[in-house]
Every structure is written in C-alpha cells, then in structure tokens.
Amino acid sequence: MTPRFTETELPSNRVAYWCALRHVPGLILSWVLFATYIGIGAMAHDLNFSLGWAVASTLIIWASPAQVVLLSTLGAGASPLQAAIAVSLSGVRLLPMVVSVLPVMRQRDTRLRELVLPAHFTAVTFWVESQRILPSLPRARRIAFANGLGTGLCLGASLATGIGYLLAVHLPALLASGVLFLAPITFLLTISRNSQRFTEWLAIVLGLVFAPLAARLNTGVDLLIGGVAAGTIAYAVQRVRRGV
C-alpha cells in the first residue's frame, strides 16, 4: 500500500525530509539492503580492509554490487585496472535510473545543483521507492523527500557496514560465516527478483557457470572474460528471439 502525503502534511521541506527519514525503517527493501551491507562490512574485514575504508566505501560508492565487485577483485589480488572496469560495468545500470528518476522530482524553476544529491543517492532501493512514492507527493516537496529517503538509506547502510565489520571481528566462526553469507545470497535473490525474461535468467545462469571456468585462465581479467561472454550470449539469444 502506498502511503499518501498531502500539502498540509508536508508544509515545509524540513518536514518532508524528516517524514522521509522516518519512512525508511518501515520498508522491507530497507532491511534487505541493510542485510546486504552487513555482509559487505564482514567481507571488508575478512579481506583485510580497515573499518574506516569499509564505511567510506558505502558513503561514497553507495552501490552494493560495485562494492562487492571492488572488494572481491582487490581482495583476490586482481589488477586495479580490471577492478575499475568491472566496477564501472556494474555501475552502468545507474545511468538509466538517474535519467528516469530526476524528472519525477524536477520543477520548472529547479536549479541543477539541487539535483546533485538525489543523483548521488540514486541506486536500486532508492530508485524503486522514489518511483513508487514521489508521484503521490506535492511536487514542491519531492526533492526534500528524496534527500531524506537517500539520507536514511545511505546512513542506515553505512551503520550496517560498520556493524557487519565488527560482527566479523567479534563473532565466533559459525555466526561470522552466516554474516558473510548475506552478501551472495541477497544479491542472488535480488537479481533473480529483477529478472522476468528467459534471457535475463540465461545471463544469470551463464554468469554463474562461466565465472569458475574463466577463473582457471588466471589472466587477471577473468571476471570480465566470463561476464562479457555470458552476457553477450544472453544478449544474442534475446536478439534472435526478437528476430533482429
């Protein structure tokens, strides 16, 4: 059910911002996101990054796939160039999200710099919730509400990163392994949830199968080889099925 906020309930930007902050803990999506970030914090610890590095990565990168790609490539001793390319490929999906979400909050007299923060906050959870809730808000309050939403999600995720890191430090191996398991399982289920078409499933399955095969090549860019091959096959099948 989509909650509705009217002009009288959101009399100022400040109220809209706080309303959005309070809105965050009530979303199931937020809890899945926090679980992912607990896993990322634990991963950062086990791959010998510092606590400050882990929390900073959440604040400035603010895209869990990019962070996991960065951690696992650097942690496995891959070259910085491969890590950068893999991170960048995982980030392309942000472009269409930014392009589609900013017009929802823009007004005729909106200054470009007011949209810098919402653009940085754009990531899948923010995007899904913004598309759902912003259209029901008075247009003048949308940027403030979006900033509140982004602040709540990003601070919650940063806190979760720190918690995950400290859990990995202090928990016995049994529970620490459960915390580390959060990252792969939340990702697998999230990409499965976003996949509707046969060819999207094909990209996932081929990606899963090709990665360990490509890892045997030991080229330093194994992740890219496996991913580009799997993704291109799925894309080609999609074109053939469309008949183009």
Binding site: G52, A84, L95, V179
Partner: protein, 113 residues
C-alpha cells in the same frame, strides 16, 4: 585494528571504486533525456552487468572469503538451494529467502561442519 589503516587503500577506493561508478550517475545527470534507454548498447551492457554480478556471486560461494570458507562447500550450495526454493515458494520474497538460506547454512554447518 586501526580505523583508517592504509592510505593507499583510500586512494584505490577513490580511483578504482568511486570514480568508475559515479561517472554513470554524472552522465545521467548531465545528458539526462538525451539518452535512449532502449538503445542496443545499453541493453547489451545490462546483460553483461547481470552476468558479471552472477559471476561475483559464484566466486563468493566457490572460493569464499574468511570465515565462510570454514563452511563445507556442500552446505554452502545446499543453503543457496534452500533460499531459492523458499524465495519461489513465497512468490519471490527476498526476505524469506535470505532468512531461510541463513538458517539452512547455520544448521548445515552445525550438523556437517
């Protein structure tokens, strides 16, 4: 444990992590409506990005970092299977899938680890 650690790692974070990711947000911000979301290049990139992420997941499960490596492989894959089964049985509830996979992992490790 040092909170900050190695400053070179922070440089890597900016150059290898932040910039290659943020460039897409900036591009979306500046060129906005000028991009055709259904263009073939973007469709291809979306497939490749999904496959790369799947590859990262596979590697995390096959050669897991740290404490997860102490869980037998069979238990790791079994827990993923349980999570997927519950996910589909609950009409794609991510939360239910994650929780059941976690329970399966812990029970499996207690029983077999």
């Amino acid at each position: 444990m040092s909170f900050v650690g190695d400053w070179n790692a922070f440089l890597l974070l900016i150059v290898v992590g932040f910039l290659p990711n943020e460039v897409w947000r900036l591009l979306g911000f500046f060129v906005g409506g000028g991009i055709d979301e259904s263009s073939e290049a973007l469709v291809w990139v979306r497939y490749v990005a999904t496959a790369i992420l799947a590859g990262v997941i596979a590697q995390l499960l096959i050669v897991p970092p740290g404490a997860l490596a102490t869980v037998p492989a069979l238990v790791r894959y079994g827990a993923v299977a349980v999570g997927l089964a519950v996910f589909f049985a609950t009409r794609r509830s991510t939360l239910a899938g994650v929780l059941s996979a976690e329970v399966a992992l812990i029970i499996g490790k207690l029983a077999l680890g």
